[in-house]
Subunit: 141 residues, 2 copies
Amino acid sequence: MADELKQAGLKITTPRILILEMLQNAALESNTEHLSAEEIYARLRVSNKDVGIATVYRVLTQFEQAGLIIKHNFEANQAVYELNEGEHHDHLCCVNCGAIVEFVDQKIEERQKKAAVDHGYKLVDHSLVLYGLCPNCQEAA
Amino acid sequence: MADELKQAGLKITTPRILILEMLQNAALESNTEHLSAEEIYARLRVSNKDVGIATVYRVLTQFEQAGLIIKHNFEANQAVYELNEGEHHDHLCCVNCGAIVEFVDQKIEERQKKAAVDHGYKLVDHSLVLYGLCPNCQEAA
DNA sequence: ATGATTGCAAATGTTTTGCATTTGC
DNA sequence: GCAAATGCAAAACATTTGCAATCAT
């Protein structure tokens, strides 16, 4: 983990280790992969390992630039971050409870590339978020 | 235009007419379909038709809820709005100059529905934004 | 030792809200 | 006339920044 920081050209500091660790742990659970800066700040605070909110933001920005994590804007008002584990995926987000499922559809990926090329654009990145009702919330309704 | 407001259950007021008119005019040009609240506010101000920024936001929110317009978050920090002309489309956005092209790919639409169903979700909406370099900006680079 | 990193508090930028005033019907 | 809509200024957010103190190497 310290290696990852070093490889990214970042000095090994306590805040950086704590935050990377937290995102790595979050990636293991299937419900909390995506954390906001405030959530990370609050969790550190609960663990009695205080890191200033400004530092949380700065570290997240550095991690994102280093490619260690990915930033999403599922909701307009707050960004969330997840560990970058290499394989790209899109997101399916429950409009009611916020549950998130990750998926990949190769056909969609291809057609996106085609759409960009058709318009003379060179595709750099994309953001696809499907919004729907998850099984649980469909039942409850 | 006043009809559209009435149908949407909204009283006919000067700010609402001005803002709807502006978005309708914007929809006619191929480069300015997407306006932010601040842009709308500034344009009204230039036309000597002052509307408070709070009213701009309130009216846009009402229009969105009425289905008259669509809100996008291409960039994390500022929402933009466009007239809802019925037919759905996705967006291809130049990361350098912000130019926006609209497109539809029926295959992508289908596969999205499939992806949702495969995970037990009922698809409600989706947001697909491709980010790339437009022809002009590729040249300049 | 020294340049990078942090924490704090203050600033920023967008969007929202409270409330007195004005407007549409 | 009365409820709904507006304008203003203040509040509420998430996020960023300046700067002095602290830390990593």
